[in-house]
């Protein structure tokens, strides 16, 4: 194991989201309480021509020094590829890592973990709806994370992980283990997802999506008594993680410390969150223990709260269980009220929101929280962001199949 005195720090961020494509732009949107949800046409075979979703408006390699293989053409790539490769390239550039100037051995020590829950399903669907037959005769090919690693010219270990809506959080947590064991020196971690007709239909038929079609910006209302489901979003968020000694020796900018992670499983149902908070609470408690912090040390909780009747109440119970008396004192919000639910990319987006809170000393709001549900009693931050010192944050993520995750992010010393 690597020296315990070395922390895992975030040195690079790249994002392609409905709220913007840079840390600053997303921070501005979160601080202003601006929604990224609107009517969008997501193409043929949709339930209706227009859907209430959180869609990425543009995706481009804009950052100076962001480098990809010259053979990769963004306009010839799928949206999923774009949402992985562009933010990952931006994250590396932001961290000041230029693989083209690394030695062979250095490239071998940059890993890549992507949280992508249903890559093949999305690829087959895109091909099928374009008239193709890949789903009938599936091709055996490297998954996106391996293709992306080649395009980014990094050659360390690479993996795709999936824990449903917690996928990108698991990628971040597992990146921490790779760095702590000394397997690698830097790791690109995060996740991405795309809007798709099949997923929209499946979630709609599960009655998991909001049916408020009258006013898109009001549809996602976590913890509100009138919430009726989540709003699907899309996008990709990736970070570069490094050990602090390595980052300091490179004189890298440090956005924050990934101080602790906790993972557990409800093991009760393939879809429905468990009403007993014990396992979700355990993930939070383990993350705090990993960070060697107590509940009272936390200044902000970014809740998973997707705006579903069952899920939000279950999470509020888990927060109260894990944080005890501190739960009613720590400002808590759900940024999904603005960003929608980025599914596989959600946990990474919300980790970014925590870093915004730390960097700007603000608590992003839960917009549309007009009347907090009495089953969701917490210290909410409705409608507008507030200014408070933020040193330590906790970010929860929960997924189908009972996967629970909590990330503790804190200010760099």
């Amino acid at each position: 194991m690597v020296s315990k005195s070395s922390q895992i720090v975030i040195t690079g961020i790249g994002a392609t989201t409905p709220l913007g494509n840079s840390f600053d732009a997303i921070g501005d949107a979160l601080q202003a309480g601006r929604s990224g949800i609107d009517w969008c046409d997501i193409g043929t075979f949709s339930r209706q021509q227009q859907h209430v979703v959180a869609q990425v408006q543009s995706v481009n390699l804009t950052m100076e020094n962001a480098v990809v293989s010259p053979s990769w053409r963004i306009d010839k790539s799928s949206r999923l590829e774009q949402f992985a490769i562009v933010p990952a390239a931006h994250a590396l550039a932001d961290a000041g890592i230029q693989p083209s100037s690394c030695t062979f051995e250095q490239k071998n020590r940059i890993g890549f973990i992507a949280g992508i829950g249903a890559e093949q399903l999305k690829d087959w669907e895109r091909d099928f709806l374009d008239g193709g037959h890949d789903v009938f005769h599936a091709k055996r090919q490297p998954s996106l994370v391996h293709r992306a690693a080649q395009i980014l010219d990094i050659h360390g270990p690479a993996a795709t992980v999936a824990a449903a809506c917690a996928s990108s959080g698991y990628a971040i947590a597992l990146g921490k283990t790779w760095l702590e064991t000394g397997l690698i020196d830097a790791c690109v971690v995060g996740g991405c997802d795309v809007l798709s007709p099949t997923a929209l239909a499946a979630f709609h038929n599960l009655r998991a999506l909001s049916r408020r079609d009258d006013n898109p910006e009001k549809a996602s209302r976590p913890f509100d008594q009138d919430r009726d489901g989540f709003v699907m979003g899309e996008g990709g968020v990736f970070f570069v993680l490094e050990r602090s000694d390595s980052a300091l020796s490179r004189q890298s900018k440090i956005y924050g410390v990934l101080a602790g992670v906790g993972m557990s499983s409800d093991a009760t149902h393939m879809v429905t969150p468990c009403s007993d908070p014990v396992q979700a609470s355990r993930a939070i408690t383990e993350a705090l223990a990993d960070a060697r912090l107590s509940p009272a040390d936390v200044d902000y909780i970014n809740a998973h709260a997707a705006s579903t009747p069952v899920g939000d109440a279950a999470e509020a119970g888990a927060i109260r269980d894990a944080f005890g008396a501190a739960a009613m004192k720590i400002p808590t919000s759900s940024t999904k009220s603005m960003s929608g639910h980025l599914i596989s990319g959600a946990a990474a987006f919300e980790a970014l929101a925590c870093l915004v809170a730390i960097q700007r000393n603000i608590i992003p709001p839960t917009i549309n929280l007009d009347t907090p549900d009495e089953d969701c009693l917490l210290r909410h931050v409705p409608h507008h962001s507030i200014s408070l010192p933020v040193r330590v944050t906790a970010s929860n993520s929960f997924g189908f199949g009972g996967s629970n995750l909590c990330l503790i992010l804190k200010e760099a010393a």
Binding site: F45, I110, E119, R140, A267, T268, D290
Partner: protein, 284 residues
């Protein structure tokens, strides 16, 4: 960044293999297999638990039950164990049927089961939910590198698990087809490929406990490996499966400089036919 040509000297990632099991069945057999009783000792799945499950989930679950039967720890507590499932191109037949339904009948024809039952996390979640394992559960891979990704993530999760749940173990399940199902435009399958499942039950172990005579799995630099001729990172499950059945010490490449080394235990492969009685022990 570190310029060392291999892993650091203090690198630590090692697991003891407490059990290893392989199973396989043809596609035509899997539906019947899904309806059978899934139980070993005190561990059993709820009735009809697999009725919406993907084929690889059914095979993965059967390989877990087989691994339970050969576990060196009899009647062990699995409630805090972790589950990692490395699948390759799972959910294809269900995806085809769903997309045909979407095209022909619209969104109303899309089954809500496609997300929870045919995504990359589905096998791991089914194992966690079905057997009551509360440690981390997640899917890995999805493509041709699934096996090496699963091995890597299991071994690197071990040090963290050893701290948070010292008695917990990791169930690594690898599944995949020898050949992918081939479907007609109406969604009917026109071949009968073999689906394989492999479960390794891993106990996180301190690195100083390495003993090359015991069943273990570890990450090492290529130069430290006993064996030469490593399996590539995109090794098909079939190849690993056959090597483990032959008790061949095997290395699987992870990067240009490091490999996963597996010293396998003895195992008894299981080939399923419908109506076969498969479990030797049942709950009293």
């Amino acid at each position: 960044m570190n310029h060392s040509p291999s892993l650091p000297a203090d690198f630590s990632a090692l697991c003891q293999i407490d059990s290893c099991a392989t199973v396989c069945a043809h596609l035509s057999e899997i539906q019947a297999l899904a309806r059978e009783k899934h139980a070993y000792g005190s561990h059993s799945l709820p009735t009809r638990f697999l009725r919406h499950a993907d084929e690889q989930t059914v095979i993965g679950v059967r390989s877990i039950l087989e691994a339970m039967a050969t576990d060196t720890l009899e009647n062990s507590d699995i409630s805090n164990d972790a589950v990692i499932a490395a699948t390759c191109l799972a959910g294809q037949p269900a995806a085809a049927r769903t997309m045909i339904g979407l095209r022909d009948k619209g969104p109303v024809a899309v089954t809500p089961h496609i997300v929870p039952q045919c995504s990359l996390h589905s096998v791991a979640s089914a194992a966690s939910v079905g057997f009551g394992m509360h440690g981390p559960n997640f899917g890995v891979g999805g493509g041709i590198h699934a096996v090496s990704e699963g091995l890597l993530l299991a071994v690197t999760l071990a040090p963290m698990l050893a701290i948070t749940s010292p008695s917990a173990r990791i169930w690594l399940i690898c599944t995949g087809w020898d050949q992918q199902p081939s479907l007609e435009p109406n969604g009917e399958v026109n071949n009968d490929p073999l689906c394989r499942g492999l479960t390794l039950l891993l106990k996180p172990t301190p690195s100083h406990s390495f003993d090359n005579t015991r069943p273990q799995i570890r990450i090492i630099s290529q130069q430290d490996s006993y064996s030469r001729g490593h399996c590539p990172a995109d090794t098909p499950l079939k190849e690993l499966y056959e090597r483990l059945e032959n008790r061949t010490r095997t290395t699987v490449a992870i990067t240009n400089s490091c490999v996963i080394e597996i010293t396998p235990p003895k195992l008894s492969p299981k080939v399923y036919k419908s109506n076969e009685t498969v479990f030797r022990k049942e709950a009293p």
